[in-house]
């Protein structure tokens, strides 16, 4: 039983990590309607920026905030310069462009910051508590708190503000939004900027927990984040969080209890994605879109 609970906690910790990047994916999908395959590498680059700032003697919290702000600007700039010209193109062209960004960011991070693994200090004390026999880590508490805060803020922004309404309108119908006087371009830039900022925050908090910072840090997390987002539905922030937790816990329990899947635990998240896409293509919490012929 103890083992089960500790694996469960383990899974939740991983799940929150996946969910924090999945949230960035969802945000970009919800505001611009595309899947950003470069999201993980953008977060990687931002995390390197955080690391570089701490190396320059900045306090960790300050470094993270600076990196988040810079990433917001960078994300908006990427939308304006790189994505805008192909906005109207087919999915294939958009996939290719985000993959181009993926390659560029990954190798630029290596060229600029080097390939050696670097250690980012935690922004908070690394403590553990024993709560009713369950080992509770400060990491988990901080991540859950930040994630919950992000969700609430995102929900408020998207559902309760005029800017949020404009963001959603642009994603669902750019033409009509433009006619209604929404500045489509700046909304798209805002969406990319916010997603990049979320990715930077996720990377800067998550990397100190999982590994030392290296060029491959975000790739596995990105795969799981995609699984989480697909599971929850790409247009639902709540879905991303639930999806992340489900994927994290399922993965942790598989590693512990299912010997037949030893070494191929990734079958579980992809089995889940496939099952969800087959029976509920919009995801657990996603909205079903009706296509007019």
């Amino acid at each position: 039983m103890d083992l089960f609970v500790s694996q469960l906690m383990n899974g939740i910790e991983r799940g929150v990590i996946y969910a924090s990047l999945a949230l960035a994916l969802v945000l970009i999908f919800k505001t611009t309607g595309i899947l950003n395959f470069a999201q993980g590498e953008m977060a990687l680059f931002s995390t390197y920026v955080t690391w570089w700032l701490t190396e320059q003697g900045l306090a960790v919290w300050l470094a993270i905030v600076t990196s988040v702000v810079l990433s917001f600007l960078g994300g908006a700039a990427i939308e304006r310069v790189v994505m805008r010209p192909v906005e109207q193109s087919s999915p294939l062209v958009i996939v290719i462009v985000t993959i181009g960004l993926f390659l560029a960011f990954n190798s630029l991070a290596q060229v600029v910051f080097g390939v050696e693994a670097e250690v980012i200090p935690r922004a908070y004390p690394n403590e553990r508590w024993d709560v009713a026999g369950v080992n509770l880590k400060m990491d988990t508490v901080v991540l859950v708190g930040i994630l919950a805060l992000e969700c609430v803020l995102l929900w408020l922004l998207l559902q309760r503000t005029k800017v949020g309404l404009a963001l959603r309108a642009v994603a669902s119908n750019p033409e009509s939004s433009r006619l209604a006087g929404v500045s489509v371009g700046s909304m798209l830039m805002l969406g990319w900027g916010l997603a990049a900022a979320l990715g930077a925050l996720a990377g800067s908090l998550v990397v100190p927990i999982t590994t030392a910072l290296n060029p491959a840090s975000m790739q596995e997390i990105l795969v799981f984040a995609f699984a989480a987002a697909a599971l929850g539905g790409f247009d639902s922030p709540l879905g991303a969080v639930v999806g992340g937790l489900v994927v994290g816990v399922a993965n942790a329990l598989t590693i512990q209890y299912v010997d037949a899947l030893d070494g191929i635990e990734l079958l579980v998240p992809f089995g889940l994605i496939l099952a969800v896409l087959l029976f509920r293509p919009a995801g657990l919490f996603g909205k079903v879109h009706v296509e007019r012929v």
Binding site: V86, V93, I99, A104, L108, D262, G263, I264, P269, L274
Partner: protein, 399 residues
């Protein structure tokens, strides 16, 4: 993806000449009108044949010949991806997995030590099977696996399908690590020089092709190149025929407008699953060819993903939904990568060759984005547009 997606329903919007039916008068293309053009193209194809069939294998160093072979098999995998993505509109970023499957089946059949450990038993998959005999097996295995994966893909569209196929590329290396016992118990299946030597009958060919002075092991690179050249020739011809067949038109119709295609009686499921299976078989055969150059089958997460990307890049750079585009793209991608890796100036700039090599994906990625801005229909599509603008006549595109 071509611009035809915008003119739905695509089936009826296409010019009749593309079908190639004898009764329909074809719009006179450049070749049918101008004798000078005819002579030029004849001379060019003779020169091309001389270059690829004789000059490359007989004059270049083995490492250079291997590079040409590599370009051929990368182009072949991209050609397979073209059937799925270019003609049928299903984006896959997981074809590295089918490529790896082909490589593993070939290597496991040729090697006498490696085996697959499954359900508590050891499956040898054959010892010392000649390379050519593994090809039909690879084709069948990849057709079946491709079809099996194609079925769930029926429900998943566009960007979501790209996601599922990404899972394929990520999962495949883990599967090999779990089940394949190769050299030293790892998932790498290494082959010996003797396994890769050309067969005896290769010596029967005239001296021009198989130099008798070369010993067998020394002729490995030429043998690999010729095998790749013949296979690629046959499979390109197959794509050319498919593109003009009833099935090929169904592929394009499904891509351009699924609902419209269904109303004219096209069986969506059959067409999409067949496209998946065919394209998997092409990628698998390309993987088999890679064994002749790499002398091993291996799969790592990063490599499988990078291969999948490379195929997609070759396809898009060359031109989707064209016959030769992906092959041209394969050559460009492989030689461009080789060229960047050899740039002395970059090495000087960073004071180390290792760090300069890191830059090649960045140049690759940025090049890709710039390419999408200016030539979204690839080199073949772009030059077609340019040609049309020059001649101011409508030629007859395939798509």
């Amino acid at each position: 993806m071509s611009r035809t997606g915008e003119t739905a329903p695509g089936v009826t919007a296409r010019p009749a000449g593309a079908g190639g039916a004898a009764r329909v008068p074809r719009p006179a293309g450049p070749a049918g009108r101008n004798p000078a053009w005819l002579v030029t193209s004849l001379v060019l194809s003779v020169l091309g044949a001389y270059f690829f069939v004789y000059y490359v294998p007989q004059n270049y160093a083995p490492s250079r010949v291997d590079l040409f072979t590599e370009a051929l098999f990368v182009g072949l995998a991209a050609t397979g991806l073209n059937i799925l993505t270019g003609f049928n509109g299903q984006v896959s970023i997981g074809h590295g997995a089918f490529f790896g499957l082909g490589a593993y089946v070939t290597a496991l059949m040729m090697d006498d030590r490696a085996y697959v450990e499954f359900a508590g038993r050891e499956w040898g998959l054959g010892d010392g099977v000649p390379f050519l005999a593994t090809l039909p097996v690879v084709a069948v295995v990849c057709l079946v696996v491709g079809a099996l994966i194609g079925f769930p893909a029926l429900r998943v569209k566009g960007l979501y399908l790209a996601l599922v196929t990404l899972g394929l590329a990520v999962l495949f290396p883990d599967l090999t690590k779990r089940f394949v016992r190769g050299t030293g118990g790892t998932n790498l299946v290494g082959l010996r020089g003797a396994d890769l030597a050309p067969p005896d009958w290769y010596d029967w060919f005239p001296d021009v092709i198989a130099d008798p002075l070369d010993d067998y092991v020394g002729a490995r690179d030429q043998w690999a190149y010729y095998v790749a050249l013949v296979l690629v020739g046959l499979l390109l011809l197959a794509v050319h025929l498919i593109a003009r067949s009833r099935f090929g038109r169904a592929l394009i119709a499904v891509r351009d407008h699924e609902a419209a295609a269904e109303t004219v009686g096209i069986d969506l499921a059959r067409v999409k699953v067949s496209a998946f299976a065919l394209s998997a078989a092409y990628a698998g055969l390309a993987g088999s060819l890679s064994v002749l150059v790499a002398r091993q089958a291996n799969a790592g997460r990063v490599e499988t993903f990078q291969l999948s990307i490379e195929f997609l890049v070759a396809l898009v750079v060359g031109g989707t939904a064209t016959v030769f585009g992906p092959m041209i793209g394969g050559f460009l991608v492989v030689f461009f990568r080789d060229w960047i890796d050899q740039q002395q100036r970059l090495e000087d700039l960073f004071d180390s060759s290792a760090r300069a090599k890191l830059l090649s994906p960045a140049i690759f990625g940025i090049g890709l984005i710039v390419m999408m801005f200016f030539l979204p229909d690839g080199i073949v599509g772009g030059s077609r547009r340019a040609w049309r603008r020059v001649t101011r006549r409508r030629s007859h595109p395939i798509t």
